[in-house]
């Protein structure tokens, strides 16, 4: 064999005693791993094509299959990991930039896991959410700094448009094109039933989903795909995407192979042409320029829609957020470096940006210090994995959270991290019609509703245990948090005390 031959990362283990040659695995695998050997009359596997998406395992009627990590490995080396060596071979062979998907998988600190939540004992009694009302509703948007009254003493409504959410969780931006029609439909249906919002991402809005407009955030990114007056009017809010946690500072390239049929029409670019989102917005070089885009969107939609500005968490995030808060935007969304993606250069994904927990704490602190925290709401994403993360994020200063990866997991994603290949066996990150139809939007939306309903109960339990009956009373309430195993600098940035203090 050649220098570049690498033994398969995964092995397909088939229990021949259980296998009935029903060939379900073969039908389920778009990567072409499984095949029937006519001579031997048994199923065999070409493991080199396996991405470990677990589809065949889930669908094997006799549970005859499992996928395991191959134990064929290079000599152990703490400096040169197997992954690093393989990446060098790939690049030496191809000259290509390494392309990956989903969030940063590396062993970097997850601060959420180093933060513990408080509970009431004896004094300030805890509340039982099963017997007392608990408010999880939040409103996103600017809050007026003063009450104005007319000559009769009646309050003048000077409230700018707000987003009302039944729980402080929304579905993060994932574009039609990077994900399938049925994924968008599942998210849209679930959001409308839950009283929250989903986000179109930068690929435009399919005409079938305009009916979910009241539960839709429409995104405007540097490529401006599918952006027109009707699209802007369709959503409840407009998000300007300046950056994405998985790939801060770089643009996006949706390959021409994914620009087919409705994706092409929705993005308004020809079939087969790459969809290129330039790294910057070429008309935004300053906060003043951002302000111009914010106000042009407000003018085009008659000041009826809150404007969100989404940025990746980078080193100077607090100063950047302060600028955004002064740009006329109503909401800031900050996306942490563990946020997911349909495709990003591996090196960028794994090395650029900072953890969202630190960014969130820094942004909230800065906006409070400058007296402008109420001018703007704060959404965090990348990555929020559970109701506990939501509660911690809110106590660190967030108004609401975006979930992307967690929502996809609810739809069947097994985090094989091969979205960029476009052959998602779960019907999520693909445009192949045969694969897309594997995701049933009715079932998908039901599973999303289940997940959010479960989180809502858990959030209420947390709130009750802290003796808090309104989620808004938890926002920025860092006294409810303690760090564990963190150094003083980390605690200072997070604005929390160490456990035991």
């Amino acid at each position: 064999m050649s220098i570049d031959y690498i033994y398969s990362e995964f092995e397909v283990v088939r229990n021949q005693n259980r296998c009935t040659n029903c060939r379900a695995c073969e039908k389920q695998c778009a990567n072409g791993v499984h095949y029937f050997d006519n001579d031997k009359k048994i199923m065999l596997a070409d493991e080199s094509k396996c991405v470990n998406c677990q589809r065949c395992v889930s669908f094997c009627p006799t549970h005859a299959l499992k996928i395991v990590k191959s134990d064929c490995s290079f000599r152990e080396n703490a400096n040169w990991s197997e992954q690093t060596i393989k990446e060098i071979y790939k690049q030496a062979n191809s000259g290509g930039v390494l392309l990956s998907s989903m969030g940063n998988p590396n062993k970097l600190p997850v601060y959420f896991d180093r933060i513990l939540i408080n509970a009431s004992q004896v004094t300030n009694p805890s509340i039982d959410p099963l017997r007392e009302p608990m408010e999880t509703k939040v409103f996103l948007g600017k809050k007026p700094s003063s009450i104005k009254r007319d000559e009769n003493g009646e309050i003048i409504n000077n409230l700018t448009p707000q987003l009302e959410l039944s729980i402080p969780v929304m579905f993060a931006a994932m574009s039609y094109g990077s994900v399938s029609y049925n994924t968008h439909k599942s998210l849209a249906m679930a959001a409308s039933k839950l009283g929250i919002l989903y986000n179109t991402g930068e690929g435009g809005l399919h005409e079938d989903f305009y009916v979910y407009g009241d539960n839709t955030i429409v995104q405007v990114a540097s490529g401006r795909f599918g952006v027109h007056e009707k699209y802007l009017e369709a959503g409840k809010a407009i998000e300007i995407k300046m950056g994405q946690g998985a790939k801060p500072g770089i643009g996006g390239h949706l390959p021409g192979t994914k620009i087919v049929g409705d994706v092409s029409r929705t993005r308004m670019i020809p079939e087969g042409s790459d969809a290129i989102s330039p790294a910057p917005h070429h008309d935004i070089y300053s906060i003043e320029d951002l302000r111009q885009l914010v106000y042009s969107l407000k003018e085009a939609t008659k000041y009826k829609k809150p404007i969100i500005v989404k940025v990746a968490t980078v080193h100077n995030i607090a100063a950047i957020a302060s600028g955004i808060a002064r740009s006329g935007a109503d909401i800031i969304a900050i996306d942490g470096f563990r946020g997911g993606t349909g495709a990003a250069p591996t090196r960028i994904r794994d090395n650029v940006g900072i953890p969202v927990e630190l960014a969130l704490a820094a942004v909230d602190k800065r906006l409070r210090a400058e007296g402008i925290r109420n001018n703007i709401s704060l959404i965090v994403g990348g990555s929020i994995r559970s109701a506990a993360d939501v509660v911690k994020a809110i106590a660190l200063g967030a108004d609401a959270c975006y979930i992307g990866t967690a929502a996809l997991l609810a739809l069947g994603c097994h985090l094989c991290r091969a979205c960029q290949i476009g052959k998602c066996n779960w019907g999520i990150a693909t445009q192949n019609p045969e694969l897309v139809k594997r995701l049933d939007p009715e079932l998908g939306s039901k599973r999303l509703i289940n997940l959010m309903t479960a989180w809502k109960h858990e959030i209420k339990e947390f709130m009750g245990s802290m003796g808090i009956n309104s989620i808004e009373a938890l926002r920025g309430n860092r006294l409810m948090l303690r760090g564990i195993g963190l150094n003083q600098k980390e605690l200072d940035i997070l604005g929390i005390s160490h456990a035991g203090e």
């Binding site: 990956s100 401006r224 952006v227 027109h228 021409g256 290129i276 111009q292």
Partner: protein, 239 residues
């Protein structure tokens, strides 16, 4: 038609008046008000003076004619309609434009026609009578950019045109000898057939500003087109 005197009027109240008018609108004494005609459809605006940035952003079918110069970001993400400028325009004109037409008698600043796109019969057109600054048509994904260089001694376009261009085409009324184009585009002398394909836009330009069509056509032209619709295909390796 109603006439609005824009003197000492803020942009938001001016634009509200325009939106609420059931009639065509003439604006006089316009001086720097931004976002005029944002998202507007089914209306004609005539502007005397100098409108501010983002004139006709997301324009959706309205017609705007300006007797004066225009500042930056005219026709940003424009979808349909027509903008006719009897003067020059600033930077970042027609950014991500996806339909409609912009005709400019004079010059354009930097970054004109960035990421213009097209889909089937929806083809945006940007025609500049004079010259343009640097970075013309970066990331152009579709549509037609025409630069005429009328009465100009300068290069017809500035530095670094067409970076990342992957769709659409550009017709420049010049031999473009002194202009360096990137590797990702093909340039060649335009033929009569090439010009015939865009003749309606040239005719329309001449009609707007009173030029003689045959004089405009009777010059050496260059056609610029991308060499691939998939410029980044070879750049990546799956990891």
């Amino acid at each position: 038609m109603i006439t609005i005197d824009a003197k000492n009027t803020r942009f938001d109240s001016l634009n509200e008046t325009i939106r609420n008018s059931n009639d065509d609108v003439e604006i006089v004494n316009c001086l720097g008000q931004r976002f005029i005609g944002a998202g507007l459809s089914n209306k004609s605006l005539t502007i005397k003076g100098t409108p501010g940035n983002a004139l006709g952003a997301y324009l959706n079918g309205a017609n705007i004619e300006i007797y004066g110069n225009v500042q930056d970001a005219v026709g940003d993400t424009m979808n349909d309609g027509e903008i006719i400028v009897h003067g020059s325009i600033g930077d970042a004109a027609g950014y991500a434009m996806r339909g409609g037409k912009i005709f400019v008698k004079g010059n354009a600043g930097y970054r004109a026609g960035i990421h213009m796109k097209a889909y089937k019969e929806k083809i945006p057109v940007l025609v500049i009578g004079g010259t343009t600054g640097s970075f013309l048509g970066e990331y152009q994904a579709g549509g037609i950019i025409i630069v005429l260089g009328i009465d100009s001694k300068k290069n017809i376009v500035g530095n670094f045109p067409c970076t990342g261009m992957h769709g659409g085409k550009m017709l420049l009324r010049s031999t473009c000898d002194k202009i360096s184009f990137p590797k990702n585009v093909n340039t060649r002398a335009a033929t009569k057939e090439d010009l015939d394909e865009v003749i309606t836009y040239i005719k329309e330009f001449c009609k707007c500003f009173g030029y003689n069509e045959s004089e405009i056509l009777n010059e050496k032209w260059t056609l610029v087109s991308p060499d691939s619709n998939n410029p980044y295909k070879q750049m990546y390796v799956q990891n």
